[in-house]
Protein backbone atom coordinates (compact mmCIF):
# COMPACT_ATOMS: atom_id res chain seq x y z
CA UNK A 1 0.00 0.00 0.00
CA UNK A 2 1.33 3.41 -0.89
CA UNK A 3 1.40 6.68 0.99
CA UNK A 4 -1.78 8.75 1.05
CA UNK A 5 -0.22 11.41 -1.18
CA UNK A 6 0.45 8.78 -3.86
CA UNK A 7 -2.85 6.90 -3.73
CA UNK A 8 -4.62 10.20 -3.56
CA UNK A 9 -6.88 11.85 -1.08
CA UNK A 10 -9.96 11.24 -3.22
CA UNK A 11 -9.35 7.49 -3.54
CA UNK A 12 -9.10 7.35 0.24
CA UNK A 13 -12.39 9.25 0.63
CA UNK A 14 -13.99 6.72 -1.75
CA UNK A 15 -12.75 3.89 0.45
CA UNK A 16 -14.15 5.61 3.57
CA UNK A 17 -17.48 6.06 1.86
CA UNK A 18 -17.77 2.35 1.17
CA UNK A 19 -16.43 1.05 4.47
CA UNK A 20 -17.79 3.45 7.11
CA UNK A 21 -20.68 2.35 9.27
CA UNK A 22 -23.80 4.32 8.35
CA UNK A 23 -27.38 3.56 9.40
CA UNK A 24 -30.25 3.62 6.92
CA UNK A 25 -31.74 6.81 8.42
CA UNK A 26 -29.00 9.01 6.93
CA UNK A 27 -30.19 10.95 3.85
CA UNK A 28 -26.67 11.68 2.54
CA UNK A 29 -23.46 10.51 4.23
CA UNK A 30 -19.81 10.89 3.17
CA UNK A 31 -19.25 12.35 -0.31
CA UNK A 32 -20.86 15.78 -0.56
CA UNK A 33 -20.09 19.22 0.90
CA UNK A 34 -22.00 18.26 4.05
CA UNK A 35 -23.98 15.29 5.33
CA UNK A 36 -27.78 15.55 5.18
CA UNK A 37 -29.51 14.13 8.26
CA UNK A 38 -33.15 13.78 9.28
CA UNK A 39 -34.33 16.56 11.59
CA UNK A 40 -38.02 17.45 11.58
CA UNK A 41 -40.99 17.14 9.25
CA UNK A 42 -40.05 20.48 7.70
CA UNK A 43 -36.26 20.52 7.82
CA UNK A 44 -33.16 18.44 7.25
CA UNK A 45 -29.99 18.96 9.26
CA UNK A 46 -26.59 19.56 7.61
CA UNK A 47 -23.31 18.50 9.25
CA UNK A 48 -19.76 19.29 8.17
CA UNK A 49 -16.26 19.49 9.67
CA UNK A 50 -12.99 21.14 8.57
CA UNK A 51 -9.49 20.95 9.96
CA UNK A 52 -6.92 23.74 9.48
CA UNK A 53 -3.28 23.06 10.28
CA UNK A 54 -0.30 25.41 10.66
CA UNK A 55 2.01 24.97 7.67
CA UNK A 56 -0.81 23.70 5.44
CA UNK A 57 -3.69 26.19 5.67
CA UNK A 58 -1.87 29.09 7.29
CA UNK A 59 1.63 29.97 8.51
CA UNK A 60 3.14 31.12 11.79
CA UNK A 61 2.90 34.67 10.44
CA UNK A 62 -0.83 34.59 9.60
CA UNK A 63 -2.76 37.01 11.85
CA UNK A 64 -4.62 34.85 14.42
CA UNK A 65 -7.95 36.63 13.77
CA UNK A 66 -7.72 35.46 10.15
CA UNK A 67 -6.80 31.90 11.16
CA UNK A 68 -10.00 31.73 13.20
CA UNK A 69 -12.03 33.52 10.58
CA UNK A 70 -10.94 31.18 7.79
CA UNK A 71 -11.57 28.06 9.87
CA UNK A 72 -15.21 29.03 10.27
CA UNK A 73 -15.56 30.54 6.77
CA UNK A 74 -14.56 27.22 5.11
CA UNK A 75 -17.33 25.44 7.00
CA UNK A 76 -19.86 28.16 6.21
CA UNK A 77 -18.98 27.76 2.54
CA UNK A 78 -19.85 24.04 2.76
CA UNK A 79 -23.27 24.84 4.23
CA UNK A 80 -23.81 27.43 1.45
CA UNK A 81 -22.93 24.78 -1.16
CA UNK A 82 -25.89 22.67 0.04
CA UNK A 83 -28.25 25.66 -0.10
CA UNK A 84 -28.46 25.69 3.69
CA UNK A 85 -28.31 28.08 6.63
CA UNK A 86 -25.71 27.55 9.40
CA UNK A 87 -26.81 27.06 13.03
CA UNK A 88 -24.33 25.68 15.61
CA UNK A 89 -20.55 25.20 15.75
CA UNK A 90 -18.12 23.36 18.05
CA UNK A 91 -14.44 24.30 17.98
CA UNK A 92 -11.35 22.21 18.78
CA UNK A 93 -8.00 23.92 19.25
CA UNK A 94 -4.62 22.18 19.36
CA UNK A 95 -2.20 24.69 20.89
CA UNK A 96 1.57 24.71 21.34
CA UNK A 97 2.55 24.98 25.03
CA UNK A 98 3.90 28.50 24.60
CA UNK A 99 0.77 29.95 22.95
CA UNK A 100 -0.31 33.08 24.79
CA UNK A 101 -3.85 33.56 25.99
CA UNK A 102 -3.99 36.81 23.99
CA UNK A 103 -3.22 34.85 20.82
CA UNK A 104 -6.01 32.35 21.48
CA UNK A 105 -8.42 35.19 22.19
CA UNK A 106 -7.54 36.74 18.83
CA UNK A 107 -8.31 33.43 17.06
CA UNK A 108 -11.67 33.43 18.83
CA UNK A 109 -12.36 37.06 17.94
CA UNK A 110 -11.97 36.16 14.26
CA UNK A 111 -14.37 33.24 14.69
CA UNK A 112 -16.87 35.23 16.74
CA UNK A 113 -17.13 38.16 14.37
CA UNK A 114 -18.05 35.87 11.47
CA UNK A 115 -20.30 33.73 13.71
CA UNK A 116 -22.26 36.82 14.72
CA UNK A 117 -22.53 37.99 11.11
CA UNK A 118 -24.11 34.69 10.04
CA UNK A 119 -25.94 33.97 13.32
CA UNK A 120 -23.96 30.82 14.20
CA UNK A 121 -23.92 29.88 17.88
CA UNK A 122 -20.59 28.61 19.28
CA UNK A 123 -21.82 25.87 21.63
CA UNK A 124 -18.76 23.88 22.65
CA UNK A 125 -15.19 22.87 22.06
CA UNK A 126 -12.02 21.15 23.12
CA UNK A 127 -8.58 22.60 23.89
CA UNK A 128 -5.56 20.32 23.75
CA UNK A 129 -1.77 20.51 23.59
CA UNK A 130 -0.17 20.17 20.15
CA UNK A 131 3.27 20.91 18.66
CA UNK A 132 1.70 22.98 15.90
CA UNK A 133 -1.47 25.02 15.90
CA UNK A 134 -4.49 23.02 14.72
CA UNK A 135 -8.08 24.22 14.58
CA UNK A 136 -11.09 22.08 13.78
CA UNK A 137 -14.61 23.42 13.45
CA UNK A 138 -17.64 21.18 13.11
CA UNK A 139 -20.69 23.08 11.92
CA UNK A 140 -24.38 22.21 11.77
CA UNK A 141 -26.93 23.80 9.48
CA UNK A 142 -30.45 23.41 8.22
CA UNK A 143 -32.27 23.31 4.92
CA UNK A 144 -35.92 22.77 3.90
CA UNK A 145 -36.71 19.04 3.89
CA UNK A 146 -35.52 17.30 0.71
CA UNK A 147 -34.15 20.56 -0.72
CA UNK A 148 -30.40 20.16 -0.01
CA UNK A 149 -28.53 20.68 -3.29
CA UNK A 150 -26.29 17.66 -3.92
CA UNK A 151 -23.39 17.22 -6.32
CA UNK A 152 -25.37 14.50 -8.06
CA UNK A 153 -28.23 16.55 -9.51
CA UNK A 154 -26.69 17.84 -12.80
CA UNK A 155 -28.27 16.75 -16.10
CA UNK A 156 -27.18 17.18 -19.75
CA UNK A 157 -28.34 20.59 -20.94
CA UNK A 158 -27.92 22.24 -17.53
CA UNK A 159 -26.08 25.55 -17.63
CA UNK A 160 -23.00 25.96 -15.40
CA UNK A 161 -22.48 29.08 -13.27
CA UNK A 162 -20.04 30.49 -10.72
CA UNK A 163 -20.86 33.22 -8.21
CA UNK A 164 -17.63 35.21 -8.67
CA UNK A 165 -14.17 35.55 -10.23
CA UNK A 166 -11.59 32.80 -9.71
CA UNK A 167 -7.86 32.18 -9.24
CA UNK A 168 -4.90 33.44 -7.22
CA UNK A 169 -6.59 32.94 -3.85
CA UNK A 170 -3.40 31.91 -2.03
CA UNK A 171 -1.09 34.47 -3.63
CA UNK A 172 -3.48 37.34 -2.97
CA UNK A 173 -4.40 36.29 0.57
CA UNK A 174 -8.07 36.08 -0.43
CA UNK A 175 -8.20 32.54 1.00
CA UNK A 176 -8.07 34.19 4.43
CA UNK A 177 -10.61 36.96 3.89
CA UNK A 178 -13.26 35.59 1.50
CA UNK A 179 -16.93 35.94 2.31
CA UNK A 180 -18.75 32.58 2.28
CA UNK A 181 -21.54 32.72 -0.31
CA UNK A 182 -24.45 32.11 2.07
CA UNK A 183 -26.40 35.12 0.83
CA UNK A 184 -25.95 34.06 -2.80
CA UNK A 185 -27.02 30.51 -1.92
CA UNK A 186 -30.23 31.84 -0.39
CA UNK A 187 -30.98 33.94 -3.49
CA UNK A 188 -30.53 30.82 -5.62
CA UNK A 189 -32.64 28.61 -3.35
CA UNK A 190 -35.54 31.05 -3.29
CA UNK A 191 -35.72 31.78 -7.00
CA UNK A 192 -34.11 29.00 -9.00
CA UNK A 193 -33.10 26.02 -6.90
CA UNK A 194 -29.84 24.82 -8.47
CA UNK A 195 -29.72 21.25 -9.83
CA UNK A 196 -26.21 20.58 -8.47
CA UNK A 197 -23.85 22.70 -6.38
CA UNK A 198 -20.39 22.64 -4.75
CA UNK A 199 -18.06 25.27 -3.32
CA UNK A 200 -14.75 25.73 -5.13
CA UNK A 201 -12.08 24.59 -2.69
CA UNK A 202 -10.10 22.22 -4.94
CA UNK A 203 -10.21 24.49 -8.01
CA UNK A 204 -12.83 24.94 -10.74
CA UNK A 205 -11.75 21.89 -12.77
CA UNK A 206 -11.41 19.67 -9.71
CA UNK A 207 -14.72 20.63 -8.14
CA UNK A 208 -16.59 20.52 -11.43
CA UNK A 209 -15.02 17.05 -11.71
CA UNK A 210 -16.75 16.10 -8.44
CA UNK A 211 -20.12 17.22 -9.87
CA UNK A 212 -19.47 15.28 -13.11
CA UNK A 213 -18.57 12.14 -11.21
CA UNK A 214 -21.53 12.25 -8.84
CA UNK A 215 -23.99 13.23 -11.59
CA UNK A 216 -22.48 10.80 -14.15
CA UNK A 217 -22.25 13.51 -16.81
CA UNK A 218 -19.63 15.63 -18.59
CA UNK A 219 -19.20 19.39 -19.18
CA UNK A 220 -18.03 21.95 -21.70
CA UNK A 221 -16.53 25.17 -20.32
CA UNK A 222 -16.23 28.36 -22.38
CA UNK A 223 -12.70 29.69 -21.73
CA UNK A 224 -13.78 33.22 -22.66
CA UNK A 225 -16.55 33.25 -20.05
CA UNK A 226 -14.64 32.08 -16.95
CA UNK A 227 -14.38 35.15 -14.68
CA UNK A 228 -10.83 35.71 -13.44
CA UNK A 229 -9.39 37.92 -10.74
CA UNK A 230 -6.98 40.63 -11.87
CA UNK A 231 -3.51 39.29 -12.78
CA UNK A 232 -4.78 35.72 -12.87
CA UNK A 233 -4.42 33.55 -15.98
CA UNK A 234 -6.84 30.91 -17.22
CA UNK A 235 -4.78 28.03 -15.84
CA UNK A 236 -4.90 29.51 -12.33
CA UNK A 237 -8.63 30.14 -12.78
CA UNK A 238 -9.13 26.48 -13.63
CA UNK A 239 -6.83 24.85 -11.09
CA UNK A 240 -6.13 27.17 -8.13
CA UNK A 241 -7.68 26.04 -4.85
CA UNK A 242 -9.68 27.82 -2.14
CA UNK A 243 -11.66 30.37 -4.14
CA UNK A 244 -14.79 29.43 -2.17
CA UNK A 245 -17.14 30.72 -4.85
CA UNK A 246 -20.17 28.52 -5.51
CA UNK A 247 -20.18 26.41 -8.67
CA UNK A 248 -23.67 25.26 -9.69
CA UNK A 249 -25.84 24.10 -12.53
CA UNK A 250 -29.43 25.09 -13.35
CA UNK A 251 -31.92 23.85 -15.93
CA UNK A 252 -31.74 25.78 -19.24
CA UNK A 253 -34.99 27.70 -18.62
CA UNK A 254 -33.76 29.04 -15.29
CA UNK A 255 -30.42 30.09 -16.76
CA UNK A 256 -31.98 32.98 -18.70
CA UNK A 257 -33.09 34.65 -15.47
CA UNK A 258 -29.73 34.42 -13.69
CA UNK A 259 -28.09 37.67 -14.77
CA UNK A 260 -26.19 38.38 -11.52
CA UNK A 261 -23.88 35.33 -11.77
CA UNK A 262 -21.36 34.10 -14.37
CA UNK A 263 -22.50 31.51 -16.90
CA UNK A 264 -19.39 29.54 -17.89
CA UNK A 265 -20.56 26.41 -19.71
CA UNK A 266 -22.99 23.54 -20.02
CA UNK A 267 -23.45 19.95 -18.88
CA UNK A 268 -23.15 17.25 -21.59
CA UNK A 269 -23.67 13.49 -21.67
CA UNK A 270 -20.03 12.27 -21.90
CA UNK A 271 -19.45 10.86 -18.43
CA UNK A 272 -16.53 12.44 -16.53
CA UNK A 273 -15.27 14.34 -19.59
CA UNK A 274 -14.44 18.03 -19.12
CA UNK A 275 -13.94 20.00 -22.35
CA UNK A 276 -12.63 23.54 -22.63
CA UNK A 277 -13.70 25.55 -25.62
CA UNK A 278 -11.22 28.37 -26.40
CA UNK A 279 -11.22 31.68 -28.23
CA UNK A 280 -10.46 30.11 -31.60
CA UNK A 281 -13.15 27.45 -31.15
CA UNK A 282 -10.48 24.85 -30.44
CA UNK A 283 -11.78 22.27 -27.96
CA UNK A 284 -9.42 20.55 -25.52
CA UNK A 285 -9.98 17.86 -22.93
CA UNK A 286 -9.08 19.02 -19.41
CA UNK A 287 -7.90 17.07 -16.40
CA UNK A 288 -10.48 17.24 -13.64
CA UNK A 289 -7.82 16.67 -11.01
CA UNK A 290 -7.57 20.00 -9.24
CA UNK A 291 -5.78 21.25 -6.20
CA UNK A 292 -4.90 18.37 -3.86
CA UNK A 293 -4.23 18.77 -0.19
CA UNK A 294 -1.25 16.36 -0.12
Amino acid sequence: MGAVNKLGEFALIDWMRKSCFCSSGVTKGIGDDTAVLPFSTKEDMLSTTDMSVEGTHFTKGTPPELIGRKALARNLSDIAAMGGTPTYAVISLGLPKTTTTAYVQKIYRGINKLAKQFNVSIVGGDTVKSDKLVINIALLGKVAKGKAVLRSGAKPGDQIFVTGPLGGSFKSGRHLTFTPRLKEAQILMKKFHPAAMIDISDGLAGDLGHILEESKVGAVLDATKIPLHRNVDLKAGLYDGEDFELLFTVRPNDAEKLKQFYRIGAIVKDKNKLYLCGKNDQVILLKTKGFTHF
Copy 2:
Protein backbone atom coordinates in the same frame (compact mmCIF):
# COMPACT_ATOMS: atom_id res chain seq x y z
CA MET B 1 -0.76 37.92 29.09
CA GLY B 2 0.77 34.58 29.99
CA ALA B 3 1.02 31.33 28.07
CA VAL B 4 -2.05 29.09 28.09
CA ASN B 5 -0.29 26.50 30.27
CA LYS B 6 0.30 29.16 32.94
CA LEU B 7 -3.09 30.86 32.88
CA GLY B 8 -4.70 27.46 32.75
CA GLU B 9 -6.93 25.69 30.34
CA PHE B 10 -9.98 26.11 32.56
CA ALA B 11 -9.60 29.89 32.86
CA LEU B 12 -9.45 30.02 29.07
CA ILE B 13 -12.62 27.93 28.76
CA ASP B 14 -14.30 30.36 31.17
CA TRP B 15 -13.30 33.26 28.94
CA MET B 16 -14.67 31.47 25.86
CA ARG B 17 -17.92 30.82 27.66
CA LYS B 18 -18.41 34.50 28.35
CA SER B 19 -17.25 35.87 25.01
CA CYS B 20 -18.52 33.41 22.40
CA PHE B 21 -21.52 34.31 20.31
CA CYS B 22 -24.49 32.17 21.30
CA SER B 23 -28.13 32.71 20.34
CA SER B 24 -30.94 32.47 22.89
CA GLY B 25 -32.27 29.20 21.43
CA VAL B 26 -29.36 27.18 22.83
CA THR B 27 -30.37 25.17 25.95
CA LYS B 28 -26.79 24.65 27.18
CA GLY B 29 -23.69 26.00 25.41
CA ILE B 30 -20.00 25.85 26.39
CA GLY B 31 -19.27 24.43 29.86
CA ASP B 32 -20.67 20.90 30.15
CA ASP B 33 -19.71 17.52 28.67
CA THR B 34 -21.76 18.36 25.55
CA ALA B 35 -23.94 21.21 24.31
CA VAL B 36 -27.72 20.72 24.57
CA LEU B 37 -29.60 22.03 21.53
CA PRO B 38 -33.28 22.17 20.59
CA PHE B 39 -34.34 19.30 18.31
CA SER B 40 -37.97 18.19 18.40
CA THR B 41 -40.90 18.32 20.81
CA LYS B 42 -39.72 15.05 22.34
CA GLU B 43 -35.93 15.23 22.13
CA ASP B 44 -32.96 17.50 22.62
CA MET B 45 -29.81 17.18 20.53
CA LEU B 46 -26.34 16.78 22.11
CA SER B 47 -23.17 18.04 20.39
CA THR B 48 -19.55 17.47 21.39
CA THR B 49 -16.08 17.49 19.80
CA ASP B 50 -12.70 16.03 20.81
CA MET B 51 -9.25 16.43 19.34
CA SER B 52 -6.49 13.80 19.78
CA VAL B 53 -2.92 14.70 18.88
CA GLU B 54 0.18 12.54 18.43
CA GLY B 55 2.53 13.13 21.35
CA THR B 56 -0.31 14.23 23.65
CA HIS B 57 -3.04 11.58 23.49
CA PHE B 58 -1.08 8.78 21.83
CA THR B 59 2.42 8.10 20.53
CA LYS B 60 3.93 7.04 17.21
CA GLY B 61 3.94 3.48 18.57
CA THR B 62 0.23 3.34 19.49
CA PRO B 63 -1.61 0.83 17.26
CA PRO B 64 -3.65 2.85 14.74
CA GLU B 65 -6.85 0.89 15.48
CA LEU B 66 -6.59 2.06 19.11
CA ILE B 67 -5.92 5.67 18.08
CA GLY B 68 -9.17 5.65 16.11
CA ARG B 69 -11.03 3.73 18.78
CA LYS B 70 -10.02 6.13 21.54
CA ALA B 71 -10.89 9.21 19.48
CA LEU B 72 -14.49 8.02 19.17
CA ALA B 73 -14.65 6.51 22.67
CA ARG B 74 -13.81 9.87 24.30
CA ASN B 75 -16.73 11.48 22.49
CA LEU B 76 -19.08 8.61 23.34
CA SER B 77 -18.13 9.07 26.98
CA ASP B 78 -19.23 12.73 26.79
CA ILE B 79 -22.63 11.72 25.40
CA ALA B 80 -22.95 9.10 28.20
CA ALA B 81 -22.17 11.81 30.77
CA MET B 82 -25.28 13.73 29.66
CA GLY B 83 -27.45 10.60 29.86
CA GLY B 84 -27.74 10.55 26.07
CA THR B 85 -27.51 8.18 23.12
CA PRO B 86 -25.02 8.85 20.28
CA THR B 87 -26.24 9.28 16.68
CA TYR B 88 -23.90 10.81 14.04
CA ALA B 89 -20.17 11.52 13.81
CA VAL B 90 -17.90 13.50 11.47
CA ILE B 91 -14.17 12.78 11.44
CA SER B 92 -11.23 15.06 10.58
CA LEU B 93 -7.79 13.56 10.03
CA GLY B 94 -4.53 15.50 9.84
CA LEU B 95 -2.00 13.13 8.25
CA PRO B 96 1.76 13.34 7.70
CA LYS B 97 2.67 13.12 3.99
CA THR B 98 4.24 9.70 4.39
CA THR B 99 1.24 8.06 6.10
CA THR B 100 0.32 4.87 4.28
CA THR B 101 -3.22 4.18 3.17
CA ALA B 102 -3.11 0.93 5.16
CA TYR B 103 -2.38 2.94 8.33
CA VAL B 104 -5.35 5.27 7.73
CA GLN B 105 -7.59 2.29 7.07
CA LYS B 106 -6.55 0.79 10.41
CA ILE B 107 -7.47 4.04 12.20
CA TYR B 108 -10.88 3.85 10.52
CA ARG B 109 -11.33 0.18 11.43
CA GLY B 110 -10.88 1.11 15.09
CA ILE B 111 -13.47 3.87 14.73
CA ASN B 112 -15.90 1.73 12.73
CA LYS B 113 -15.92 -1.21 15.10
CA LEU B 114 -16.92 1.01 18.02
CA ALA B 115 -19.34 3.01 15.84
CA LYS B 116 -21.16 -0.18 14.87
CA GLN B 117 -21.25 -1.37 18.49
CA PHE B 118 -23.01 1.83 19.59
CA ASN B 119 -24.96 2.45 16.37
CA VAL B 120 -23.19 5.70 15.45
CA SER B 121 -23.28 6.64 11.75
CA ILE B 122 -20.08 8.10 10.28
CA VAL B 123 -21.53 10.77 7.98
CA GLY B 124 -18.62 12.94 6.87
CA GLY B 125 -15.10 14.16 7.38
CA ASP B 126 -12.06 16.06 6.25
CA THR B 127 -8.57 14.83 5.40
CA VAL B 128 -5.66 17.29 5.47
CA LYS B 129 -1.88 17.34 5.54
CA SER B 130 -0.23 17.77 8.93
CA ASP B 131 3.29 17.24 10.35
CA LYS B 132 1.92 15.08 13.16
CA LEU B 133 -1.12 12.85 13.21
CA VAL B 134 -4.24 14.67 14.48
CA ILE B 135 -7.74 13.26 14.70
CA ASN B 136 -10.86 15.20 15.57
CA ILE B 137 -14.28 13.65 15.98
CA ALA B 138 -17.44 15.70 16.39
CA LEU B 139 -20.35 13.62 17.66
CA LEU B 140 -24.07 14.27 17.90
CA GLY B 141 -26.46 12.52 20.25
CA LYS B 142 -29.98 12.70 21.59
CA VAL B 143 -31.72 12.70 24.93
CA ALA B 144 -35.35 13.01 26.04
CA LYS B 145 -36.37 16.69 26.08
CA GLY B 146 -35.23 18.52 29.22
CA LYS B 147 -33.62 15.35 30.61
CA ALA B 148 -29.94 15.95 29.82
CA VAL B 149 -27.95 15.56 33.04
CA LEU B 150 -25.89 18.71 33.63
CA ARG B 151 -22.95 19.32 35.96
CA SER B 152 -25.05 21.92 37.74
CA GLY B 153 -27.74 19.69 39.27
CA ALA B 154 -26.06 18.51 42.50
CA LYS B 155 -27.62 19.49 45.87
CA PRO B 156 -26.43 19.13 49.48
CA GLY B 157 -27.36 15.66 50.71
CA ASP B 158 -26.91 14.04 47.28
CA GLN B 159 -24.87 10.85 47.34
CA ILE B 160 -21.83 10.63 45.03
CA PHE B 161 -21.18 7.54 42.90
CA VAL B 162 -18.72 6.29 40.28
CA THR B 163 -19.42 3.52 37.78
CA GLY B 164 -16.08 1.70 38.18
CA PRO B 165 -12.55 1.58 39.66
CA LEU B 166 -10.16 4.48 39.07
CA GLY B 167 -6.49 5.33 38.50
CA GLY B 168 -3.53 4.24 36.40
CA SER B 169 -5.31 4.64 33.08
CA PHE B 170 -2.23 5.87 31.18
CA LYS B 171 0.27 3.45 32.73
CA SER B 172 -1.97 0.45 32.11
CA GLY B 173 -3.03 1.44 28.61
CA ARG B 174 -6.68 1.42 29.69
CA HIS B 175 -7.06 4.96 28.26
CA LEU B 176 -6.92 3.29 24.82
CA THR B 177 -9.26 0.38 25.44
CA PHE B 178 -11.92 1.59 27.89
CA THR B 179 -15.60 1.02 27.17
CA PRO B 180 -17.60 4.27 27.24
CA ARG B 181 -20.32 3.97 29.89
CA LEU B 182 -23.32 4.40 27.59
CA LYS B 183 -25.06 1.26 28.88
CA GLU B 184 -24.58 2.35 32.50
CA ALA B 185 -25.89 5.84 31.64
CA GLN B 186 -29.06 4.32 30.19
CA ILE B 187 -29.60 2.16 33.31
CA LEU B 188 -29.28 5.32 35.41
CA MET B 189 -31.58 7.39 33.21
CA LYS B 190 -34.35 4.79 33.24
CA LYS B 191 -34.39 4.04 36.93
CA PHE B 192 -32.91 6.91 38.91
CA HIS B 193 -32.13 9.96 36.78
CA PRO B 194 -28.90 11.35 38.25
CA ALA B 195 -28.96 14.92 39.61
CA ALA B 196 -25.53 15.79 38.17
CA MET B 197 -23.09 13.80 36.04
CA ILE B 198 -19.68 14.08 34.33
CA ASP B 199 -17.22 11.61 32.84
CA ILE B 200 -13.85 11.34 34.57
CA SER B 201 -11.32 12.65 32.06
CA ASP B 202 -9.43 15.14 34.27
CA GLY B 203 -9.31 12.87 37.33
CA LEU B 204 -11.85 12.25 40.12
CA ALA B 205 -10.90 15.35 42.14
CA GLY B 206 -10.78 17.60 39.06
CA ASP B 207 -14.05 16.44 37.59
CA LEU B 208 -15.85 16.45 40.92
CA GLY B 209 -14.48 20.00 41.16
CA HIS B 210 -16.36 20.85 37.93
CA ILE B 211 -19.62 19.54 39.43
CA LEU B 212 -19.00 21.50 42.66
CA GLU B 213 -18.33 24.69 40.75
CA GLU B 214 -21.34 24.40 38.44
CA SER B 215 -23.66 23.27 41.25
CA LYS B 216 -22.26 25.79 43.78
CA VAL B 217 -21.79 23.10 46.42
CA GLY B 218 -18.99 21.13 48.15
CA ALA B 219 -18.34 17.42 48.73
CA VAL B 220 -16.94 14.93 51.22
CA LEU B 221 -15.29 11.80 49.81
CA ASP B 222 -14.76 8.66 51.85
CA ALA B 223 -11.18 7.52 51.10
CA THR B 224 -12.02 3.95 52.07
CA LYS B 225 -14.84 3.75 49.50
CA ILE B 226 -13.09 5.02 46.38
CA PRO B 227 -12.70 1.96 44.11
CA LEU B 228 -9.14 1.62 42.77
CA HIS B 229 -7.64 -0.51 40.03
CA ARG B 230 -5.04 -3.07 41.09
CA ASN B 231 -1.64 -1.52 41.93
CA VAL B 232 -3.13 1.99 42.04
CA ASP B 233 -2.80 4.16 45.16
CA LEU B 234 -5.36 6.65 46.44
CA LYS B 235 -3.50 9.66 45.02
CA ALA B 236 -3.63 8.17 41.52
CA GLY B 237 -7.29 7.31 42.06
CA LEU B 238 -7.99 10.94 42.92
CA TYR B 239 -5.85 12.70 40.33
CA ASP B 240 -5.09 10.42 37.35
CA GLY B 241 -6.79 11.46 34.11
CA GLU B 242 -8.75 9.57 31.46
CA ASP B 243 -10.52 6.89 33.50
CA PHE B 244 -13.73 7.66 31.60
CA GLU B 245 -15.94 6.23 34.33
CA LEU B 246 -19.08 8.24 35.07
CA LEU B 247 -19.15 10.34 38.24
CA PHE B 248 -22.67 11.27 39.34
CA THR B 249 -24.85 12.31 42.24
CA VAL B 250 -28.35 11.11 43.14
CA ARG B 251 -30.85 12.19 45.78
CA PRO B 252 -30.47 10.28 49.10
CA ASN B 253 -33.61 8.16 48.54
CA ASP B 254 -32.38 6.90 45.18
CA ALA B 255 -28.95 6.04 46.57
CA GLU B 256 -30.28 3.09 48.53
CA LYS B 257 -31.38 1.35 45.34
CA LEU B 258 -28.08 1.79 43.47
CA LYS B 259 -26.23 -1.36 44.50
CA GLN B 260 -24.37 -1.96 41.23
CA PHE B 261 -22.22 1.21 41.42
CA TYR B 262 -19.73 2.60 43.96
CA ARG B 263 -20.96 5.12 46.52
CA ILE B 264 -17.94 7.27 47.43
CA GLY B 265 -19.26 10.32 49.30
CA ALA B 266 -21.85 13.04 49.65
CA ILE B 267 -22.54 16.60 48.54
CA VAL B 268 -22.35 19.32 51.22
CA LYS B 269 -23.10 23.03 51.33
CA ASP B 270 -19.53 24.47 51.46
CA LYS B 271 -19.12 25.91 47.98
CA ASN B 272 -16.15 24.50 46.02
CA LYS B 273 -14.71 22.69 49.04
CA LEU B 274 -13.66 19.07 48.53
CA TYR B 275 -12.97 17.12 51.75
CA LEU B 276 -11.42 13.67 52.01
CA CYS B 277 -12.32 11.60 55.04
CA GLY B 278 -9.64 8.95 55.72
CA LYS B 279 -9.39 5.64 57.55
CA ASN B 280 -8.63 7.23 60.93
CA ASP B 281 -11.48 9.74 60.56
CA GLN B 282 -9.01 12.49 59.77
CA VAL B 283 -10.51 14.99 57.31
CA ILE B 284 -8.32 16.84 54.82
CA LEU B 285 -9.12 19.49 52.26
CA LEU B 286 -8.24 18.40 48.70
CA LYS B 287 -7.25 20.41 45.68
CA THR B 288 -9.90 20.08 42.99
CA LYS B 289 -7.34 20.82 40.32
CA GLY B 290 -6.94 17.52 38.51
CA PHE B 291 -5.13 16.37 35.43
CA THR B 292 -4.48 19.28 33.08
CA HIS B 293 -3.88 18.92 29.38
CA PHE B 294 -1.05 21.49 29.21
